[in-house]
């Protein structure tokens, strides 16, 4: 790599930092609203059309939701101002690590390793079986 290329890379990196800073400035105070039940149901209908929702838990911080549909758990998790949806086995969700009010759901995907949900208690007494 020549010096000129290095300089070009350094200048480009500085420009990237400036553009990211500008984006942060332009979007400050415009974060996505917390996820509520109505929005969660809309997303579930979009992502898993026809799925019967038997139970729905919304994270207390509005950053995610978990629904039960038969033997599957439908997971929604905020990423930036968008979201990620995944389907995992209900058993895996029911037995997921729950500590300090935080449920850590393994999504078994390198592109979306896990989703976190803030809940009062887990697993739910009546639906955990």
């Amino acid at each position: 790599m020549h010096l000129a290329d290095l300089i070009q890379l350094a200048v480009s990196a500085a420009a990237v930092a400036a553009m990211v800073g500008l984006a942060a400035w332009a979007t400050r105070g415009r974060g996505a609203p917390p996820l509520d039940e109505a929005q969660a149901r809309r997303w579930l209908a979009d992502e898993f059309p026809g799925a019967r929702i038997e139970g729905l838990w919304i994270g207390a911080d509005g950053l995610g939701a978990l629904a039960r549909s038969g033997e599957t758990a439908l997971v929604l998790s905020r990423i930036g101002d968008g979201y990620v949806a995944r389907r995992i086995a209900w058993d895996a969700a029911a037995s997921a690590q729950f500590r300090d009010g935080r449920l850590s759901l393994p999504l078994a995907d390198f592109g979306a390793p896990r989703a976190e949900l803030r809940l009062q208690a887990w697993p739910p007494g009546d639906l955990a079986a």
Binding site: M19, L22, A23, W25, A26, G80, V84, R86, F110, A112
Partner: protein
């Protein structure tokens, strides 16, 4: 061996200025654009390092093109205007083929998926370029052009022109262009469809510069007013880390190969989402399920689907 200066390098200041312009004008409500800080950071980081990651293979591919050019069928002069017209069409058709393969076969999708991994669609998305394109080897698709007799540097320049052309169409600020332009050229509207995850928009509009290839080969889909594109992947990423963005599908292929090596051909060359038992979603299965739902439960977009 000197690889010619490419149009992408020359256009970089223009990329920077226009991204800044789009962010600022959107901030003051002068045009439609949605930016998100982390998303922008990921896209630009991908762009910054994509040229570097391509360097080792750029040399190999250029050397291969040079070798083929020495054994060329015809001699096409770089100085003739007709030769540039010819290379424009030939390169654009090659790009269509490359792009279609990049969506229809998992190994090439693994290299291309990162470009589609943003849930946003703005000028910074255009710069979310691959780090593994060289590895996937799709550059070999351009080699026949040199064998035909186009000088390798001519092909390389034309590839750069195509990439620069495709930059400005990554925007929501331009709704529709004049009818004649939309009929012939790839436009922001056509490429929004290409970046959408709505089932009816999946695997459509592979064009580079000319949309005519999609119209000819049956992969064209008009952007419909009643169905706004939702951007991103069928299974969106849950991370902004560029390493996860760049390599997640390769890791997925590796995991599948370890799990079931006897299905290697399917894992590597099958369509993205292919699995032996058909349990995963492919574009085709998602489109079929969507079409079935349209028949069962007429929705507002039903009248168009007929």
């Amino acid at each position: 061996m000197k690889i010619p200066t490419d149009p992408v390098t020359l256009a970089t200041p223009f990329f920077i200025l226009t991204v800044i312009g789009e962010i600022v004008l959107a901030r003051y409500g002068k045009l439609k654009a949605h930016y998100e800080t982390k998303d922008t950071a990921t896209s630009l980081t991908m762009g910054l390092f994509s040229t570097l990651s391509g360097l080792p293979f750029a040399g190999v591919s250029f050397a291969g093109a040079m070798w083929l050019y020495h054994h060329r069928l015809f001699t096409i002069p770089m100085t003739a205007a007709w030769a540039w017209v010819l290379v424009f069409f030939a390169e654009d058709l090659t790009y269509y083929l490359f792009h279609r393969l990049s969506h229809e076969r998992r190994i090439w999708w693994a290299a291309h998926v990162n470009h589609h991994s943003s849930q946003h669609y703005n000028l910074s998305t255009a710069l979310r370029q691959t780090w593994t394109g060289g590895l996937a080897g799709a550059w070999a698709l351009w080699l026949p052009l040199s064998f035909l007799g186009f000088p390798p540097s001519m092909v390389l320049i034309e590839k750069g022109v195509s990439l620069v052309y495709q930059y400005w169409i990554h925007t929501e600020a331009i709704r529709r262009l004049p009818k004649w332009f939309e009929a012939v050229f790839n436009t922001p509207s056509h490429h929004r469809v290409h970046h959408a995850r709505n089932p009816r928009y999946l695997d459509r509009n592979y064009a580079g510069i000319l949309i005519i290839w999609d119209r000819m080969f049956g992969t064209f889909q008009l952007e419909l007013d009643e169905e706004a594109p939702r951007y991103g992947l069928v299974h969106n990423l849950g991370a902004f880390n560029p390493l996860r963005v760049a390599f997640h599908e390769w890791v997925g292929i590796g995991a599948d190969l370890i799990r079931s090596p006897r299905h290697a051909l399917g894992w590597i060359f099958g369509p993205p989402g292919w699995s032996p038992d058909g349990a995963r979603d492919t574009s085709a299965s998602l489109k079929a399920a969507w079409a079935a739902r349209q028949v069962q439960a007429p929705s507002p977009d039903k009248r168009e689907a007929a």
